[in-house]
Amino acid sequence: MSQTQEKYVGQSIDRVEDAALLTGSAMFSDHLPTRSGTLHAAILRSPHAHAEIAAIDVSRARAMPGVAAVLTGEDVKDISDPFLIVLRQPILQWALAVGKVRYVGEPVVVALATDRYRAEDALSAVEIAYRTLEPAVDPEAATEEGAPLVHEAVGSNIVSVRDFAYGDPDAAFAEADRVVKLKISYPRNSHTPLEGFVASVAYDAATESYDVQSNFQGPYSTHTVISKALRVSSSRLRMRTPAFSGGGFGVKVQVFPYIVLMGAASKIVGRPVKWVEDRLEHLSGAAAAPNRVISIEAAVKNDGTITGFRFDQLDDYGAFLRAPMPGPLYRMHGILTGAYDVKNLAVTNRLVLTNKCPSGMIRGFGGPQMYYAIERLVQRIAVELELDHYEVIRKNLVPAGVFPYRAAAGALLDSGDYPAALEKAEKEGKLAELRKRRDEARAEGRLYGIGFAAIVEPAQSNMGYLSNILPLEERRKNPKGGAVSNATVNIDPLGTVNVTADSIPQGQGHMTVLSQIVADNLGLKPGDIHVNLEHDTAKDAWSIATGNYSSRFTSSTAVAADRAAKKARAKLARIASQTLNVPADRLEFGNGKIYAADNPDNAVNLYRVAGSAHWTPGNLPDDMEPGIREIGSWSPPELEPPNDKDQINSSLTYGFVFDFCGVEIDRDTGAVKIDKYVTMHDSGTLLNPRLAEGQVHGAFAWAVGCALHEEFAYGEDGSFLNGTFADYLVPTAWEVPEPQIVHMETPSLVTPLGAKGVGEGNCMSTPVCIANAVCDALGIENVTLPLSPNKVSALIHGEERPPPDGAEAPSAAREVAGNVIAGAGEAFVKSPPGEVWAALLDPEKLASVIPGCHALERVDENDYRAEVSIGAGPVKGRFKANVRLSDLDPPNAATLTGALTGMLGLSEGSGRVTLAPKDGGTALSYDYRIEVSGTVAAVGGRMLEGAARALVRQFFERFATVLGGGEVAVADEAAPSWWTRLLAALGIGR
């Protein structure tokens, strides 16, 4: 009989996970059982980007049926502390807003009820008075003198500035033949998971501890942030995560503020509390990758050799700095020179806070932003020097044969052969044919371009990388570096192998890979290995690096599992050596047996050997512990703290990705079509090629979204504009072409399995590769993502054809985008101006013409408060309105200012109405400008414009009727939003 054991690592075996997923038995966070008596939470969020909270009245909400409690920031502040951050800056954040709100979507009130429906009903009865403040929205404007301050106590919106220099950048730039510069702006986006956040927390008063079930994905350094906020030790914060995830992509570390919120709520009400995030909450309030502005320069020689880089990076973290921020800026720090052999580097990093959703950990984690600058610049170098882009890349790559290679800022590039990878991609991807295709398309007058991008993909973060944000003296006091991972291999009395580990999987197939690794070590089949990756901090090994991020699995947890399996194997070999009378180092494992290498017939079943460690521990070698439960732990020595020169090996492994693509732009619509996409990956040894390709496909799909569709849009007033998947456009199977994947395997020298990360490369390479192709197609210097057809149309269509003679173009006022609605119009009323004026100032008359008005009271002279049900078409809401008349010029003109608040959001606006006598009646003309925020701005963007036109018309129809009839000639040019009805009605639409 042949004892040769088949090796499973390196094979594309089927995913162990899929049976449960495909048959619907996989349990996601929302499916996990909750304790009886659990209350369900709903969160009321800020409709304002920046406002003081003047008063909150929850009394009516508390009295509603099924409602157990309604909590505010003050309640939470009493029993919790602000979240820890890496900077010593007074950026205080609790789980609910305290004192003021700083972004649209910030949690302000939480209602706890017997079910989610009742909890949401309660929210509609909460009354909050805000005093709005000017917001800081644009990151560059936020750095200017006099900009509104997000955190007054900091004294500036710039919360950290660090300068770095490596080599001699000044000399490099002084000696350069030419300096090529570019300024890029990378948008906000997020890799949105299908499953939102879930936090289910039970506070146990007897032990003063919290039991958390959540789809938290780590890093578990954040566990410390949670326990500190809840004022308990780590052991009193039990964190349980499920085996299955509806997608993580980094963002699920940002469930942590909600774990704190539900923990505090559970403690206050004395019952378990559960919260499930909905889509609007996720899009507006979960987290986004930071938007970044980079000014980048390269010192170049005339032959295209790059001798130096200069970066000025302004990273926008939104309203708060939440752990593990500012990771996106520092995680990439060691590898700021990308794939290039450039020794001279100067960097300025500035962190700015603005009135937008706080940033978080999103797949790619700083790489998309950084590589967008570098790889766009390299394309510019080629254009400016009239060289071939591909050749400029090739000329500057880190050469073959120099690995391990220390990059200027400290990354230790572990292995690779970048020029060979380029050549392989060029050949297998048929670059020459693509160039020909471009030439032919251009000869036909079509818009066709080719883009390239070469990047180094870092994986497994050094836990010390954030230290580089601190000056040398400070970080010397507490040097940080390393990254610990853990796995356990347990063999039970029947010889069944069970594996647990700290990878907190988010769908990648970790169970499958761990079963391959352990099976190979023990001479079993993957199907013999039972992997359970539910994680429980009360029972499982964990450390600060635990979790699912930075593509860490293959070089961390997988290695720990390999080490645990090797320990189990060694132990089994020692036991078997007694039975078989063969030295342990002469034993082999295969096909479920342990056998003598030189005499395979001298064999024993593995399950018997393992069983003996349980059944007859007395027979074990004297120094051996009974049972077989082996823990593998691993921290790579290369992950050192930053050195005195600010160099940091920010990640453990560095893969290489080289992409090229051809795109065609539709001349009529501006739509960008990806005609061909080739992506070359050297991710070291592939543990399971199919899973690796799955990672490439996933990263590529999101990257196509970033390139063409996805952006979190904010209005000038900080309102959030895409709160649904109808407005935040995630590419579907139709929009994602099939990339041609080319592999090369250069094993890593710093990890025992030789494998590198593969989950994030295309997030970094693809957006800029597509942008480069579009720049090539259009012959333009720069573009900003996403490349929507609307944006590309503006680049190719030139001046718009004017309206025909005699026709008027719509006024500029209506060309206002997003959440701002502006317009002007006029109407005729048969009554003379004096009567119209009197009606305008008469609350009873006003009340009678306002559709849906329940009550109108005069608060003060020319100051009214009303409650109205308003709607347009099918949409209806009940609102409170405040309206003030000012700048009165009776009976000729008045200015109206108003605010409208309700469950759907709010609007504020002002306008001027003028009255002029005409044909015995009055010609009313009005203009207005309204800003809309809250739910409606986020989800109703499509409905805003136009809806109010009907409302304005309605108002004037009634006005005219009440005042004795009259032709209504509403020539409204643009109205929007149904609450404009109210505003319009109360005078703003004048």
């Binding site: 949401e120 579907t732 054809r801 719509p810 060309e815 206002v816 099918p874 805003l944 414009e945 643009a974």
Partner: protein, 275 residues
């Protein structure tokens, strides 16, 4: 994202549904496929006291030829019309529009009449109804009336339907022999709401062009014998008349650009399809 409390009637007959509407008026909403209504309920953008579900009324689930029109009942799913034997011959314009209407999954849920009743300015079915000169059949407990598509949709999500009425059926005129039809749409992703949707019919020298997504409801123009520069001029004038609006996806200017550029294409395609 949970709706406010509401009462619910699962109507067994059209009469029961209409009685419900008569009793509750503006506080009631008809639920058929729910593709528009249910998200609005969940966002609490609409908070009706009563939801009347007509999806189980067999008598309203039909497609029939009647007096030169294809009449489709209020409970008929879009997918039923999409798969109807006669669609390619009788309603070639609707047939051409179908691939742009949401997704396979949404079409198997959404109803033809629901789309017309909801009157989203970007929707394909109301646009086709307008270009073909079809009608909405409005029924209340008091009786029935027919309203031409051009009079039915009065603005963004607003129609001539009274609160006590429901759209009981829509009537698409069958294709005229010798006419050509074409449909084009620009959306950022397949199945998205159109930024601009265009539908054209051509018969002899006469063309009709309908545009959705630019004004607050589908708008139709008819021209005789226009070609070349004169057609471009007419399209430009039409684009400016429609005006357009800015939103997070597209500017008014882009929408007008598409009317000019795709308008010509869709008209040429309709003309080329004339038999």
């Amino acid at each position: 994202m949970k709706p406010s409390p509401f009462d619910y009637i699962r109507a067994a007959s059209a009469e029961e549904a209409l009685d419900g509407l008569a009793a509750h008026g503006e506080d009631a909403r008809i639920l058929a496929g729910g593709l528009s209504l249910v998200p609005m309920l969940n966002f609490r953008l609409v908070e009706p006291a009563m939801v009347i579900d007509i999806s189980g009324i067999g008598a309203l689930d039909y497609i029939r030829l009647d007096n030169g029109a294809v009449e489709i009942g209020a409970a008929t799913r879009q997918s039923a019309l999409e798969r109807w034997d006669g669609i390619a011959d009788r309603l070639p314009l609707v047939h051409a529009a179908f691939p742009h209407i949401g997704h396979y999954q949404t079409r198997s849920r959404g109803t033809v009449c629901g789309s017309v009743a909801h009157s989203d300015p970007s929707s394909e079915l109301p646009l086709c109804l307008a270009v073909l000169g079809g009608e909405a059949v409005l029924r209340s407990a008091a009786g029935e009336r027919r309203v031409a598509a051009s009079d039915f949709q009065t603005g963004m999500l607003t129609t001539a339907k009274r609160d006590d009425e429901m759209v009981a059926a829509v009537r698409f005129p069958v294709a005229e022999p010798g006419s050509g039809y074409a449909f084009a749409e620009m959306a950022q992703r397949r199945g998205d709401f159109a930024i601009v949707a265009l539908a054209a019919s051509a018969s002899g020298e006469r063309v009709r062009l309908g545009v959705g997504g630019v004004a607050d409801h589908p708008t139709v123009r008819q021209w005789d014998g226009l070609a070349g520069g004169a057609l471009d001029d007419a399209l430009n004038a039409f684009a400016w008349e429609l005006g357009g609006y800015d939103d997070v996806h597209a500017t008014a200017r882009y929408r007008r650009e598409l009317v000019r550029r795709l308008g010509r294409k869709v008209i040429e395609e309709a003309r080329s399809c004339r038999s």
